[in-house]
Amino acid sequence: MPTKTRAASYTTGSDQKPTIHFPAEHAERSAALPTVPNAIIECKDVNVYYNAFRAVTGVDLSFGSKEITALIGPSGCGKSTLLRSLNRMNDLIDGARVEGSVTFQGEDIYHKEVDAIEVRRRIGMVFQKPNPFPKSIYDNIAYGPRVIGLKASNMDDLVEEALTRAALWPEVKDKLKQSAFGLSGGQQQRLCIARTIAVKPDVILMDEPCSSLDPIATSRIEDLMYELREDYTIIIVTHNMQQAARVADRTAFFTALASEETGDRTGLLVEYDLTKKIFESPADQRTEDYISGRFG
């Protein structure tokens, strides 16, 4: 694992990279990173740029298979950006560029022969704001299987199975032909989760999936995540620390650091460990400050 050597690389960036000066203590930070057994996605020295702006700097992070990993940290710390780089959703953003390596089951997802569409089929995503299609509930679920040409012997069964897994079936089984826009926000988000499950991915990325939901809807989604963990790897970005503490097996804490020269903020990983360790005895002072509400 690259540890101390990386500290140097921050300050010796080439011309196009903004130079950022880090306090000396950063050199030590990743030494404490635990190795994740059975990792499914591994990031090595990942930098994400939006044109010349570096949003995420030098992230080394492994995500355990069939675990829930939470990414937490203040706004602008690059956690959502990092999340989107895990299934190449950043490809859709003009000027976004990823450096370093992101591997899925050992294969570099940014390799030039890798098909981003296939990557996204294996690594699905649930977004911050529920974004069902303006179609019927049934068609929302059937959309994914149809576009990827999944050979479902019976689409009705597949739709029912996905909705059942997402704990939505009892509420919608009598109105499958109605527009998904008639559902409440929480139901729409569970529909989006069901839609993702329907294409049978290995990993589900969740970008603050509960930020627009009330506490009851939030708690249902959390229960659902816990159940889905048996079959899926879940990586969730959240602003809600209690949520991370409740659902995540491991938690990664990010922070935003401003460059002394340009003032541009870039995100970097501060600490990554078992959730219990992060919340009860964090190794880094900044993590403790954030967890205890003194900062961020």
């Binding site: 959703m89 995503m125 977004f127 704001k129 299609f133 576009v147 989006c192």
Partner: protein, 317 residues
Amino acid sequence: MSTLTPVGGSALLPGRPAVSLRSNRPRHGETFVRFLLRVAAILTIVITGGILIALLVPSIEFFRTVSVFDFLFGDRWAPRFADASFGVLPLVTATAWTSGIALLVAIPLGLGAAVFLSEYAKPGLRKVLKPVLEILAGIPTVVFGLFALQFVQATVFRGLFDLDTGAFSVLAAGLVMGVMIVPTIASISEDAMSAVPLSMRQGSAALGANRMQTTVRVVFPAALSGIIAAIVLGVSRAVGETMIVAIAAGGQARIVTGPLEQGQTMTGFIANAALGDSRVGSLEYDTLFAVGLLLFLVTLLFNFISIRFVRRFREIY
């Protein structure tokens, strides 16, 4: 019982008088603007109604002499002959040919351009291409008409391909009219597609859909009402276009049976006859308005059909 003293600003901000929430000065400007806006809205409706009446009155006069059936289904159009005949079918067939050919060109090209601009082109390229496209929409139609007559019909059809056709053809007029309509359809449907939230495209991409699938299955249905509006506007422009067909389609009102034939369209007839010396109140004069009314009704019909179609199929986001 104690007297209630109003809690004014003075209580909250010492040294300030109590404030009132009542309006303390009349807003004449706003009243005036509201009046102007109302006049503008009403005027639009009144003018449209006026045009309709102006069309209807001579048309009714016309149909006192010629029966509606003879007008709509007669196949000989010879309003100025001694042996006059008022069957409008020849004009209708010519309009159908030119408009049909134009739409066959304009709808695929226009929608293709819209999809490219909205879904595939990088923002920089879009910024350059869209204004260029809209400039095309600003070319005077008389220029298109000359282009159809001199270049497409004379140089290409007769010269290059040696086709069996005269000086005019509905094909040349239709093709060029199609090119003229492309920007209208492209620009309006591009607006409609761009208005579909990015989150829908992201949701689709996250499920493993490629760009074309996302466009066809998510963006298109969501933008349907705008796209249909664009096509209907295209149809209206094709049916109502006058200069190109007057110049390049021909001037003899005969039933058109093939694309290389010449033909006089409804608008072509009106343009020609209106330039003539038909006396106000004469049958020939009224004929113009009857054809105009038919034109108006055809466009109206397309509008109605499209509204029904959109209500039935669009996906509201």
